[in-house]
């Protein structure tokens, strides 16, 4: 049941999508939110479809979210967990791709440590490929669910002021958010130590705040990134304690804001490092809404990518209501 719909064959990133396509995904996610509120959280839409979750990096929350999305659409899912790159462990990505194709998989959800891995796979197999995070490049479904959550709260995205706080240099979530939000007309800023911002950040169309206090004065919402310990080559910042003291989002800092800031975080959180607990659990945190929206957004993406085959549509034209 793999096909080409309004999004093309794959979802590799938000940089390649138009504002209309992003809007289509967000609008499509609305009815899927409702399904997750039902007693029977299932629709037969992708019945008979086979989806492989190919996770080369450990991730419970994203994988589980995709699994729920797939199962709620009645698809058959298989989880394949592998660790390491092509070089270090067993089968190369190319061979993995060929094997999947030989098994006639309809869709692959891939998370991999190398930037460009999702595209690498998509160029070599006919199945739909969904990027669940490739290296430091993009994490499109996260960007989409962040936007959906913002839209839920503010009713719109254009003109909103969003500041992404933290390790932008190593963050695929940050990149997807920057591309997606800008396409939807929002104003985007980043805030963090310069050693954790890409050197070319000035060319990415965002404002840079050196100090978190200034970001808080300006923003409507903060998207607080996890300080990625596992990705940092040692030495970008001296210590977590200093990071928290200089850049941490605390209740005291938020109290000095001119308005109530919405707080987002892609998770998992380092409480007491980039975000304090009373902020994470506070009244303006929508972190749990992000999780709920994540399943709906992923269902929408799966639904839209598994577009039907138009040539069969011609033949079936006689049928109707």
């Amino acid at each position: 049941m793999s096909g080409v719909g309004a999004l093309g064959k794959d979802l590799l990133g938000l940089e390649d999508l138009s504002g209309d396509q992003i809007r289509l995904i967000l609008d499509t996610a609305e009815p899927f939110k409702e399904i997750s509120e039902r007693a029977i959280k299932k629709v037969p839409t992708l019945r008979g479809s086979t989806i492989v979750n190919l996770f080369f990096e450990a991730s419970t929350r994203t994988r589980v979210s995709f699994e729920f999305a797939e199962k709620r659409l009645s698809a058959d899912t298989v989880n394949v967990a592998s660790s390491g790159s092509s070089v270090s462990k067993g089968e190369t990505l190319v061979d993995t791709a060929r094997n999947l194709e030989a098994m006639r998989i309809d869709m692959v959800v891939i998370r991999h440590g190398a930037s460009g891995a999702a595209r690498f796979l998509a160029e070599r197999i006919e199945s739909n490929v969904i990027n669940a995070g490739d290296g430091t490049h993009e994490h499109p479904t996260q960007g989409l669910l962040d936007m959906l959550t913002l839209r839920d709260n503010f009713g719109h995205l254009d003109g909103l002021k969003i500041c992404i706080c933290g390790d932008v240099l190593h963050s695929r979530v940050a990149r997807s958010n920057i591309w997606g939000l800008r396409k939807m007309g929002a104003e985007v800023a980043v805030c963090g130590p310069r050693s954790l911002l890409p050197n070319a950040i000035g060319e990415m169309g965002v404002t840079v705040f050196e100090h978190i206090e200034d970001a808080i004065q300006w923003a409507d919402a903060l998207n607080i990134l996890r300080l990625q310990l596992e990705r940092m080559q040692a030495g970008y910042i001296p210590s977590l304690r200093e990071y928290n003291r200089v850049f941490g989002v605390s209740r005291e800092r938020l109290e000095r804001a001119p308005k109530d800031l919405l707080i987002l975080h892609p998770g998992p959180m380092n409480r007491g490092v980039e975000i304090d607990s009373d902020v994470a659990d506070g009244p303006h945190s929508v972190i749990l809404n992000q999780v709920t929206n994540g399943v709906a957004v992923r269902m929408a993406v799966l639904y839209l990518l598994a577009g039907g085959k138009p040539e069969l549509a011609e033949a079936a034209k006689g049928g109707g209501r």
Partner: protein, 433 residues
Amino acid sequence: MTTPATLLRGGRIVDPSQNHDAVGDLLLVDGKVEAIGRVGEVRRDGDALETIDCSGLIISPGFVDVHCHLREPGREEVETIASGARAAAAGGFTAVCAMPNTDPVTDNQAAVGFIIRQATRAGAARVYPIGAISIGEQGKTLAEFGEMVSAGAVAVSDDGKPVVSAQLMRTALEYARTFGIPVADHCEEPTLAANGAMNEGIVSARLGLKGIPAEAEEIMAIRDILLARRTGGHIHLCHMSTRGSVELIRWGKERGIHVTAEVCPHHLSLTEEAVEGYDTNAKMNPPLRTADDVAALQEAVKDGTIDLIATDHAPHHYDEKEREFADAPNGIVGLETALAVNLTWLVHGGVMDITTLIERMSCAPARVFRLDGGTLRRGSVADVTVFDPDAEWTVDPERFVSKGRNSPYAGRTLRGRVELTVVDGRVIHRRQH
């Protein structure tokens, strides 16, 4: 079949070493240039004469590539000295210098001798070995420059790797003076460049790839230039890629420091944008940089700040390149596309004339590395390249003579093509029609 005499007739003979540029005939006898004259005026009586019609073509001193990787010993499945020497011939090169990062490293006289022997057996382009600066290219102990030179090495380098220790580079520059050879350095500051996969800039930020900043090259370039000043040695800077490096070389030359530099065709024609889509055939070290860097390098080759053009031909196996970008090895092949790329971007692109290009591809490399060739003076070796500067052809790596297929120019239509390559008066390559 060797004939004692060959006449190349009716071509435009361009020899920058003699300021010669005229249509005429070139006579080669017993492996040496015998005479240049106007068409029909060069005569030879007696022995059999092979006449080759070169009308519409350019006849130049043979091209010399001072920087290529022939992978033998150690990686013969990817290239051998024979296949590399033949690929060089197909690219119009009458001589190449082979870098020592083989397996085992070419760091002693036996290894140097092996390469010479393999090259002689191949009977294609001349292959001059470059010996390692340090044993095993480990950057610790000096290799035996003297022994390697007497076995046939023409320079020393730890290419593939930078010489990290300034003290070692200093010693190498001093020690090399005894043998009159250049020390060639791959300029890369290892802590800045670590794990980098492409140029650091907006493209790397968008693609989520770790970048190598221009400073990683420039810091080592100026270090080497300063050490050349202190020691009076000859430093040759490999594959320059940034505007900043060009400015530093200019600074050094203005002060009479013995620094020479090379640039590769890909850094004169492609930018970091070639990496879009994570194309591993655009991955090499130093990486492709910005349009501004390309412009600075083109200008530098034109005005001579950068002395010569070398290919850094680096074949890799298809499987190695068919990988996630960050894991793919660095390097592209270049012997068979160098002339066409240079003609298309530099000459047809209006940056310089053909004479200057030939100077940078033949005369200068021979002069800087003190090799035979690079000239068509009477009595010099009969190493000649004949080429059509305008012929259009589409690059198809499957048809390369080299075993390597990793070229970023695949599918592109280029202008300029080698017709004939002659070494020692013997035709070692003739284009199939």
